[in-house]
């Protein structure tokens, strides 16, 4: 057994992925402009009210444009901003090409998201030489062959590799070994640490923790008292302790799944909201059954036109994966939580996943459970064979609402998780 500090893990991250992929594609197609060299962003369509910045170029960063910002705000900051719509098919193609290239070198690769990969370099120095040299070689080959730039971070575990990948961009290789941690990672602001977001940051600032070093040297009991087990986790991360293996093949244990969508118009009545919730439930339940799982928890989230967000959840009496049963609970939850205002965004989430191999029968089961299960099976079969739109509910026949809402429209799109 190798000691944890003997592992060598690399993290490969494409620099402003969506944008540089689009830029490279345009150049290949004979366009003269390079999106990476002008202030530009990838943004959703304003007409569909999905007008936020998904990715930005480095010159756009100089105008203080942030990812996730509303497009018109970005335009105010920079009137000459070039906005390009997203093209998920292209991103899948780029991501696959990168995966293919990495597979030529390494046997153990984890696809962490569409533009991030982990690979295990442990014991491979004999064949390929020092990790930094290899990383530089890969980086240059990606640039030469695929045309976009990547950052490679190297460390003893996935967390350190990922943190190293976030240092100076673009087109760089960084290391973050255990002995470099105090100099390179600890002076960074605490929100740079993986898993520390806006909310945790605020809580930590209340405790007078401002840098990763502060967090690492804080008494772990204090953090556990405030943030429970999550406090322990981020304390471990701040100290560079993390031992998860590089999951080859892409299987990542799921804790839950959900779909949500911003709606093109404001929803004012219950009927329309139900329709959208049904559409979201259809997508979620399909994914749930694809994963051979049942869920024990259903949650509904609502964002109104004032952008206030709230959600409501309930544990189910017995786990299920039947669309109609989930939808029933979704409707109840919606009725209990909706305050009657205009809705902009709806989401359905399920959690407490368990295997669907065993069903506990109870007195309180819904009627026709077996029939519903068979029906779902048939529908899934049809959708798998003839495409998702091959069979839809009659209620969506007017075409106003997409029958299966949520997601990016690409089936194999790997979403980034919070589990390393």
């Amino acid at each position: 057994m190798l000691k944890p500090n003997n592992r060598i893990i690399m993290h490969i991250d494409v620099n402003s992925a969506y944008l540089s992929w689009q830029a490279v594609y345009e150049l290949q197609q004979g366009n003269k402009r390079d999106l990476r060299e002008i202030p530009s962003v990838i943004g959703g369509s304003i007409a569909d009210r999905r007008g936020i910045v998904l990715a930005k170029s480095i010159p756009a960063k100089a105008f203080k444009i942030n990812t996730g910002e509303v497009l018109w705000e970005a335009r105010q900051k920079c009137p000459d901003l070039v906005v390009v719509p997203p093209n998920y098919q292209l991103y899948m193609k780029c991501s696959k090409a990168l995966h293919q290239l990495l597979k030529e070198f390494f046997p153990c690769i984890q696809r962490f998201s569409i533009d991030e990969f982990f690979l295990d370099y442990t014991g491979m120095s004999i064949h390929y030489g020092e990790p930094v040299e290899t990383a530089n070689r890969i980086k240059d080959r990606v640039k030469k062959e695929l045309g976009f730039t990547v950052n490679i971070g190297i460390g003893h575990n996935k967390l350190m590799a990922k943190m190293a990948g976030e240092f100076k961009k673009p087109d760089r290789v960084h290391t973050l070994w255990q002995y470099e941690m105090k100099d390179k990672m600890w002076p960074l602001p605490v929100e740079e640490l993986y898993m520390v977001g806006r909310k945790t940051m605020r809580k930590l600032k209340d405790l007078n923790i401002h840098t990763i070093g502060d967090l690492a040297t804080t008494d772990v009991k204090l953090l556990e008292g405030k943030l429970k087990s999550f406090g322990h986790l981020i304390w471990m991360y701040a100290n560079g302790i993390e031992e998860s293996p590089v999951h080859n093949g892409g299987y990542i244990p799921m804790k839950g799944m959900g779909h949500s969508s911003t709606i093109k118009f404001d929803v004012e009545d219950r009927e329309t909201a139900y329709k959208i919730l049904l559409s979201l439930t259809e997508s979620v339940a399909l994914r749930l059954r694809e994963a051979n799982s049942c869920c024990g928890l259903v949650s509904v989230s609502i964002r109104n036109v004032e952008l206030a967000h709230y959600s409501h959840q309930r544990k189910l009496f017995s786990p299920t994966n039947i669309t109609n049963e989930i939808y029933q609970t979704v409707k109840e939850l919606f009725d209990e939580s909706w305050q009657g205002e205009k809705i902009r965004h709806l989401g359905v989430r399920i959690g407490e996943l368990s295997s669907d191999e065993i069903h506990q029968i109870s007195f309180f089961d819904g009627i026709n459970q077996e029939k519903n299960r068979t029906l779902d099976g048939v529908i899934d079969g049809l959708r798998d064979k003839y495409g998702k739109a091959s069979i839809i509910r009659g209620i969506f026949a007017d075409g106003e609402i997409v029958p299966l809402l949520g997601g990016v429209g690409e089936d194999e799109y790997p979403m980034m998780g919070s589990i390393l």
Partner: protein, 87 residues
């Protein structure tokens, strides 16, 4: 060579090994007339994988109006389209 990226109609030769060799192509000129261009020699063939989009690149010699000219042809594998990319 200047960048053109004009769609063209191509006669190409596909051999047993899967090599593709452009033979001759035609394109519409300014007066909407077809011009046929024969390829004399292939100087270089490469695969371009930029942005994961595979394209075969051919640098070729042709003879146009008695003058030897170098041009770049591209074949986009996903769409099966030929382009006169540079001339």
């Amino acid at each position: 060579m200047k960048l053109l990226r004009k769609p063209i109609e191509m006669v190409a030769w596909f051999d047993y090994e899967g090599n593709t060799t452009p033979v001759k192509f035609r394109l519409l000129n300014e007066a909407e007339e077809n011009t046929v261009v024969k390829i004399k020699r292939i100087v270089k063939r490469e695969v371009d994988k930029f942005a994961g989009n595979r394209m075969m690149k051919y640098t070729c010699e042709t003879c146009i109006n008695g003058e030897l000219k170098l041009l770049e042809l591209r074949y986009e594998l996903d769409t099966c389209r030929w382009y006169l990319y540079k001339m």
